[in-house]
């Protein structure tokens, strides 16, 4: 039964693979580079971001990024709601057994923690200049916070507070992105005028990257705290 099922699945998938490869061959002739060329030509000038990925997600397609951040927000709230059994348990302690965590690991964690935090913020703040940005840097900061739990296993976390702050930050992101309605007459773009200097434009980029970074870090922090408590 299972063998025949696998054979059928294999046959079906190979049909799809062949068609896909045929379609890819067409792409040699058909490939349209309009979008790529546009970003290369005008990306820096129009958005003030040297990192074109940041140019896309902070300016050209900011509306998408808002809801990408929204996906994390909803996932966090959903996990909190579903893993919530009791109010008391909410502020529970994290339970790494101190005696089973090697001292070497704890010591190294103490050394690495400030470095990771700094690196995370570096990636966030320089998101418009070098590879990185709010989403990536936020994940690094969240990892740094996770290491804190190894250093101090008695640590208590108030998840409710974190989740509320996350919501505030999300609202701030929406408001910040909408300021351009008053300065440039259109929604969800840089609030600086189009002919402002690169430094002026980067104010907006750094601010938005910071907010997104905080939001992502807080969101991931909540998710793994909720999971750690579930696993107990």
């Amino acid at each position: 039964m299972s063998v025949s099922k696998n054979i059928i699945l294999f046959a079906l998938l190979s049909v799809l693979l062949i068609v896909f490869m045929l379609a890819m061959q067409d792409l040699d002739v058909l490939y349209n580079s309009y979008g790529r060329d546009y970003y290369l030509l005008y990306g820096l000038e129009e958005t003030g971001s040297r990192n074109l990925v940041s140019a896309i997600y902070l300016d050209y397609r900011l509306f998408d990024s808002l809801f990408e951040a929204g996906i994390l927000l909803i996932a966090v709230s959903g996990i909190i709601w579903i893993s919530k059994h009791d109010i008391e348990e909410k502020n529970a302690k994290f339970m790494i057994d101190k005696y089973k965590t090697p001292d070497l690991f704890v010591t190294f964690s103490r050394l690495v923690y400030p470095l990771m935090l700094t690196f995370g913020f570096y990636v966030i703040i320089n998101g418009h200049l070098s590879p990185g940005g709010g989403f990536q840097g936020g994940a690094i900061v969240a990892t740094a916070i996770l290491i804190l739990y190894y250093i101090d296993s008695e640590r208590e976390t108030n998840i409710g507070l974190i989740v509320t702050i996350e919501k505030y930050i999300f609202m701030t992101i929406i408001v910040l992105a909408s300021i351009s309605l008053f300065t440039r007459g259109t929604f969800f773009t840089n609030f600086m005028p189009l002919d402002a200097s690169l430094q002026m434009k980067s104010i907006y980029l750094v601010l938005l990257n910071l907010l997104i970074g905080f939001k992502v870090a807080l969101g991931l922090w909540t998710i793994f705290t909720a999971f750690l408590k579930e696993g107990r």
Binding site: L30, D64, W81, L181, R184, F188
Partner: protein, 534 residues
Amino acid sequence: MIFIPVYLVIIPIFASLVIYIFKNKHMNYLALLAQAVVTVLAIVYYQHFSGNFEATMFVFGGWDDRIGISMSNDALSLSFVFLTVFTWWMVLLYTFDKGNTNHNFIFFLLFLEGVFFGILMTNDLFNMFVFLELAAILVTILIAFNKAGNSFRAGIYYLLVNTAGVLTFLIGIILIYFTFGTININVITNLMPLYGDELIIKFAYVLLMSGIAVKSALFPVFTWLPHAHGVAQSAISALLSGLIVKGGLYLFIRINQMYAAANYDYYAFFFVLGALTAIVGVMFALSQKDMKQILAYHTVSQIGIMMMGLSSQDVNVYYGGVLHIFNHALFKSLLFLGAGVIIKVYRTKKVNEIRGVFKTMPWVSIFMIVGMLSITGAPLFNGFISKSIIKYGIQDSGIKYWTLFIINIGTATSFIKMSQIFFGPQSLSYPMQRKLQNFALMSIAFGCIILGNFYIPINQGFFGIDLSYIHIFEFAKFFDYFLTLAIGYLFYYFIISKDKPPIPNIRNFSISFEASNIIFIALIVVMTIYFVLL
């Protein structure tokens, strides 16, 4: 004025965040305020732009329309917007009357409204994908909201199956982006004559359509729907069956509009798929005993009928399908909400255990009966109009006509079966007077009757379609309906009520997640062979 679509998306989301932050019972009423604002904005927007829908297009940030994200509207999307506003009003009123309004519930519910507006109004394929993904996660949480074991399972099943569908949708978008250099739907529509015959674009069509087939629960991949709609809270079931699942059909219309210049012969394929969906849905519905499962399987079968209408070259039949989306949204949410009230009082979902509903709660029963008459296609009610349009359009083709006839008999049978709950003496008292709930049910019931009687001016005004060739007061129409009912009753009395094999076997039939994935891949392959290789 042109930015009202943004407000429609942002206002519910903002209100939901405020409600979540304050966790206050009084703050929950902000939901109603936001809803009122959204209603007013939608009406103002429609009045300003009706007749000049070209002007609704705008690009975020004022960029080149091939680079930035744009939004635009037309009569179809705006009528969906009004349907959304109406359904959310009813669901909100219904939940607020239950007393235990949880701020988490309102948060997810309102957020979903904003996201659904986004799906309707966006003019960008990737933006559509983001909204679809977000909606899938929100719906999962709402299904699993009461944290019981079966609702968890249904929620996760929904999430996994829909994620698989949305992923094929994403691959389709990538192929389109490589070929067109943009994902703006308007631009792609205009460029379609250039690339429509290329293999890669045909394959992209297949991938987009298979994602949509999962979203709208078409024949082989509908298995998630009865699970999800059967176990969720009644308000959520009404929302899912009435509206969210129609999001898939809306995308079907949109994507086919985008591919209009490519002239694919999709009509026969999707007609067969629709007919199969309808027949299988009715078959499963007949075997069920759980009231909500019956309604959920009827959603599957009605979606089949809509698909039969939408996949027609005849403009009238096509609008029959579109109209059936709206009519079904009304009567199915009415039935689910009514069923919710009954289940709450009787504490059971089994059709053969509930008795004497008419004596216990006459008003709810009357509204439920309106819903049942509508879904079975009784003259004077709205289901009749759209079913007649479809029937009128396909009466030349024997097979198509008889397929629809059999589906109608199945529907009639299963609602005759369900109507047994009304008979019998009053078995328990119904002390609660729920004014808001009754008001919500009454509004939807009125909607059914109004759309069933004043369909000519309404459709003329909104879609510019002349429906004056559909007459209600014809002897043949009434004769047809009562004939269907009579055959349905005989069918019920002699076969269904005996509950002999194979009916219990159908009832207990279920498909594992693994098998449903293989079926999904098989569907993609069949579509590939039909559209790409032939």
